[in-house]
Symmetry: D3
Subunit: 233 residues, 6 copies
Amino acid sequence: MSDALFEILRKVTTATITTMLLKKGIRRCWMNGPKPLVPRGERLVGRAFTLRFVPVREDVATPESWGHPISTRAAIEEMPEGVIVVADAMGVLSAGIFGDILCARMKKRNVAALVTDGAVRDRAGVLTSALPVWCAGIAAPASVTGLTFVGWQQPIGCGGCAIFPGDVIVADDDGAVVIPQAMLEFVAHEGAEHELYESWVFSEVENGVKLPGLYPPNDDAKARYAAWRKSRS
Amino acid sequence: MSDALFEILRKVTTATITTMLLKKGIRRCWMNGPKPLVPRGERLVGRAFTLRFVPVREDVATPESWGHPISTRAAIEEMPEGVIVVADAMGVLSAGIFGDILCARMKKRNVAALVTDGAVRDRAGVLTSALPVWCAGIAAPASVTGLTFVGWQQPIGCGGCAIFPGDVIVADDDGAVVIPQAMLEFVAHEGAEHELYESWVFSEVENGVKLPGLYPPNDDAKARYAAWRKSRS
Amino acid sequence: MSDALFEILRKVTTATITTMLLKKGIRRCWMNGPKPLVPRGERLVGRAFTLRFVPVREDVATPESWGHPISTRAAIEEMPEGVIVVADAMGVLSAGIFGDILCARMKKRNVAALVTDGAVRDRAGVLTSALPVWCAGIAAPASVTGLTFVGWQQPIGCGGCAIFPGDVIVADDDGAVVIPQAMLEFVAHEGAEHELYESWVFSEVENGVKLPGLYPPNDDAKARYAAWRKSRS
Amino acid sequence: MSDALFEILRKVTTATITTMLLKKGIRRCWMNGPKPLVPRGERLVGRAFTLRFVPVREDVATPESWGHPISTRAAIEEMPEGVIVVADAMGVLSAGIFGDILCARMKKRNVAALVTDGAVRDRAGVLTSALPVWCAGIAAPASVTGLTFVGWQQPIGCGGCAIFPGDVIVADDDGAVVIPQAMLEFVAHEGAEHELYESWVFSEVENGVKLPGLYPPNDDAKARYAAWRKSRS
Amino acid sequence: MSDALFEILRKVTTATITTMLLKKGIRRCWMNGPKPLVPRGERLVGRAFTLRFVPVREDVATPESWGHPISTRAAIEEMPEGVIVVADAMGVLSAGIFGDILCARMKKRNVAALVTDGAVRDRAGVLTSALPVWCAGIAAPASVTGLTFVGWQQPIGCGGCAIFPGDVIVADDDGAVVIPQAMLEFVAHEGAEHELYESWVFSEVENGVKLPGLYPPNDDAKARYAAWRKSRS
Amino acid sequence: MSDALFEILRKVTTATITTMLLKKGIRRCWMNGPKPLVPRGERLVGRAFTLRFVPVREDVATPESWGHPISTRAAIEEMPEGVIVVADAMGVLSAGIFGDILCARMKKRNVAALVTDGAVRDRAGVLTSALPVWCAGIAAPASVTGLTFVGWQQPIGCGGCAIFPGDVIVADDDGAVVIPQAMLEFVAHEGAEHELYESWVFSEVENGVKLPGLYPPNDDAKARYAAWRKSRS
């Protein structure tokens, strides 16, 4: 069932998704920080696979640590196809969590995207890897300069949101949002309906209709929309 | 008279305007925050039409509030042609004050531009609306997620500047500045003169002249500039 | 000797340079703030020529000060060919330290680039000057609105790093790093070697090889790399 | 009726009030910033009387402005007895909105307290005035150094909260909270009940009872509390 | 053995401990944020027992969650005697992680102290509980207003430091530091020695000796110190 | 002459000093950051002796550097009696620039006070040294953990102000202000006059006089003040 819902969500903007979640009382679902490395107009949907960093400590965060069992390398090999990796870098912008090689490996494993409130390094190389990336910055230094990797698939914070493994992530040019599993169906169906309504409102505005009474709609606008909606089907 | 001054100001950079205002003792006139959504090299001039938000409170900032008499929708219908809307979003970057529909309606009403120290939502839709926008970020969530709209045409703060309704706003790729009405004529005429002088300095630099004695000018440079200026007319 | 090392460094990413410096115990070498005004994919190398600002004080930071013996104008005339100017603007983003004219003069003097943790003004004009610029923002107001210039070729802070006159600066799309003179040779030679190794790793990843055991390499990977490296020479 | 509710609220901690408001869906009611100038253990309750500042502009924010019709002086003379003044200083901590003289006048008018997300000036003098003050800092400069006063009894933001004239403010050593009028009765009665329950829990904890099952209570704890509560009356 | 080392550490300032750790290459060991709720001049030492929060999400961070198996209440019942609880509140200062009741229960379980980069609530009640607290602020709202509790005894970040369960924590009026287990003996013995040396330097300064040659010591100062040290034993 | 002016300034609050400087067009004279380590109600006046730090770099900021010719130790031995030391720590709060020993030596040399926008370490020891300190925080780590000392008696920034060696510093419970030499006499004499006037206003307010017309004074108030002032002499 998720597949069908994901297909629907690919046509629902993250802006609309946040409005649907607000109806359910959720105000903290948009991650403040991650932006598309290059805005491309694409929208991606996937399950969250989480990564967790804590601050650097010089005795444990070393280049040697990259070979340890608990390392970003090991985490990557555990990533299922199609997931969106969400990395809690605590908003640190002075160290890049991944560069060209790790991004290329994630791409090879068919990871859908990387989302982080931290930075990536080697911008040119990351673009070459073709992995879609939402991040809060670019920094040359390696992660161990400022961060210690401590594990994966744990609850994390990212950009002021709580992310649990398996939550659904949607990312587009406005950034990335998290949808709790229990609200997935509501958000997809109501969201798609909302998009349709907004496309009608936009065309009304193009035709010179005023906003009061239209958006939100009064009874007259509701009737006109219902008629338009019917005529489309 | 304003029209002629506005015409002159369209050829004066915001950088030069701040220098003219500094001569009048004004150091706080450039808004720290608003940037062109997409730098296009254009410069816009208009009277300020102000909007004011305060922080969100869950009992009043709701989707239902969009239909109230004091709402962003109602404010838009009060905007005269040619104004530059300046919205005080208190620098909140986790909620977008406007999306595609409201921007499209402003465009339809011939609003010249939107300037805010907050964010807009639905980047793709806002670009489609063709309303020129200077903002401090992009965020998917609706304004009511983080802000409560409380009125228009009041004094506001925006990007660390005080903006009063009717002040003159100039915006280009360096951002947006506010010119108090009483200094408008001075800024336009002195600014235009300064642009001419700087164009001559730039050509002198291209010819290899050193900066000391040229910029600011000593007597010799003043004489050479006077001669050049005369030869042009 | 520096020339040959600079030539090598032009092919080493700032990301790799930070990793080499980490091996020497240096974690603070990447300036947090300066970004290319427009990412162009180029990498520049040069000796640091430092400029220093302190906060504005209205009695000393005036347009008149631009003609004083200690002024940005005077400093520019002292800049040797090929240097990378690093300006400590204390991270102030509400005043632009240089505009089109000063950048044009620096370009004329064959300054290689300008790096600052502050802002530049007159974006369009700076781009016209063709001086490569790494900065943390764009601001219309002149430096004297927020800063007082106090001297050149002194130790400074820039983007959280200590910069001493004569340090080597490398800047690319990831930002700018400083290399202490004593580590220059190590960084250049080890860095070049590291780039070669990473290019091999990248091709291995493209061929589907897993990261654990490859990056960092186990004995088998080391042997394969050695063979590949030998085959190239 | 308010008087009786205010009397009750004087015995309910701001911590408990925020918990009661959370039950009503309100998460933004505690002002992040204002702290007691000197913690005294007192709790004050009153209607909000709001003041509003925008950023400084050198042509309007001058010592001369202190004599204008729209001035802090005029606002003070409009303050009814018993109100708690809430001043929106936009979090500016480099200018003090009031000093000894204005605080003394407010005290004379029987203003209950001053709450601001900004600073006060002349700490010693303010303490001498005996006006209870909750502020975010101390700063020597006058308000006009950083702020322009623009009016009173308008909706404002303070410490991340929306405050409307007439809202109820409660302030103690944890800071200041705002209670929307419509929730006043609920908060007072439920809050008082909650305080009683927590006092029982505290005594249970002192007796060595574990938290799980006690706080929040399971059926057994509920029964024991009911018995204790009954025995008190 | 730890007991003896802890006994020694109780007489070593956190300032000296950071200097000893710097000798081992550790610069990130002092937590930037936690301060004594009330400076008392005491110094506490204990093993770290970690708590972890992520940002609030309205569907999971509710008052009901306080009764769940993974809750702060359950965590408290797992705390061994003598530990110093270190809570990663991600520096959130708008919600208090614990109030009087939870602090009282921790005190009852002989927890040595609570250290957090967040806030506590109900300042008066926390002081009544007599649990020593190092925190970064006071806030009335409950943790669920801004945070979601997700577990205990995991690696965490606190005040910019990585803390692993079992690390040694020392807290005094300068704040709290973390000592990696492997460096405990070095820090205790060298630290105690350093304190002795500094007490001698202090008395030398009181006697009017200049700092150069004394601190750090030249050969003469070393000899005088050695003589003094010998005379004491 | 300075001595007499200093004597006058000891009775003028820093709040009043900032108002006098505002009359001269100076808005940036109060340092945002330094606060008395313990508010004592005392006011100190002295010439600025400046110290300058840049960010840490691991190859130069080491405990060994404490013995170098350019070191804080050497700087202290250059300090004349009665100066107020102003240290530019770039607002870094995670390293303490001085502890008990250096403060004790400064006290011994009759330094009047230490003012910094950074932190001091070993709070208890600094209090023991009896050197009056205005700082922005307390931190256990030594300066070399986060800062590199580079020199003394240079122009610096401190708390957003430019400080030049020889400027006059006044510090009290509201913090510290800088007075440019050229304005010293004006500030002292006008400030003393202003204090007298404000003491009269305060007594008027105590007597129930309204603020409008009194503060700033209208003609009637001016006359009454003149009479009162005359009666005192």
